[in-house]
């Protein structure tokens, strides 16, 4: 099974409207304590499809986090909720094939800076690690 060690890669897909800095300032992938967090700006979190987050995992990402605008600040009104539903659907699919659903995560945020986006990615890395830690007796915690 997929057992990540430090040397993980986490992709954070975030809505362009939930950040405080300009669209022209993409953040380069950076490593923090063995975890590379790559942030990718989206025109709207609702543009993210289940197929895309699953492809990111299949291509080698250890975890994916979608960061959507808080409900009241979503410019599409229902964009963040649509993104959350799609992520929950992808989590259910992962669960059905016995892959820890913690490899996908969702955050509602407004006015975040680059440091917070990276912190969200690091929290996802910890959740992925925790989901694959072997439980006493040889079983696996999922």
């Amino acid at each position: 099974m997929h057992v990540p060690t430090r040397g993980m890669k986490i992709v954070v897909l975030y809505c362009q409207h939930c950040v405080t800095y300009g669209k022209e300032s993409p953040i380069a992938p950076r490593e923090h304590d063995g975890v590379v967090v790559q942030t990718v700006m989206m025109p709207c979190s609702s543009k993210v499809q289940a197929s895309e987050v699953l492809k990111l995992l299949a291509a080698g990402a250890d975890g994916v986090e979608i960061v959507a605008c808080s409900d009241e600040s979503c410019r599409l009104l229902v964009g963040s909720r649509m993104a959350e539903k799609r992520l929950q659907y992808a989590q259910r699919l992962l669960n059905e094939v016995h892959v820890p659903k913690e490899r996908l995560g969702f955050s509602w945020k407004s006015g975040v800076g680059p440091e917070e986006l990276e912190a969200i990615g690091l929290r996802r890395a910890s959740a992925v690690e925790a989901s694959t830690v072997e439980a006493p007796g040889g079983g696996e915690k999922t």
Partner: protein
Amino acid sequence: MIFSEWKPLDEIVRQLDGRKKVLLVGCATCVAECAAGGEREVETLAPLLSLAFREKGQPIEIVTCTLEKQCEWEFVEELSGKATGVDALLSLACGIGVQALAERFPELPTYPGVNTSALTIREEAGIWASRCAACGDCVLGETFGYCPMARCAKSLMNGPCGGTRENGKCEINETLDCVWNLIVERAELRGELESLGRVRGPKSWSNSRHGGPKRVIREDLRA
């Protein structure tokens, strides 16, 4: 449209056990409309299967292709190059598409990825409901445009039955309209309630599945 749903993923994984390279084939027609086998679903299932087999320690290569129609030979032929070198085919089309692939590529095992269960209409986003049972003897002209074969839990031709709730819902499901209640309401709307009193002869099932596998020949359309 023909309505299909993904098979349980465990079943799909079990079917493909031991395969190294699989061609996953979608269909851009009915199964795309019901969000089971179009390009989006193909591109969702492919990485999911890759993850599932990697988790099992049995890496698998999934090649994808979505045909315009999996039930037409001209479109199926598009696969001739892509099917080279694969162990198996996995189809997200209805049973017609699965059988077309199996017939075109008899040397390869072809597995169904969906269960096909009904002829439906999309009531709204994410909701589909039966509208036709392909019974071979359409009665919609007599039932005011509501199909009792597809929409009555008992397929009654002489409803409503005693199980209809006071609010016009079916006894098996409180969210399901009793179709015979709807028929009566529409008959009243048109002032034709008495037409429902006419005795209809027994429904003919000879033109449905009961008549054996159907094979229709239209000489006027043949070369």
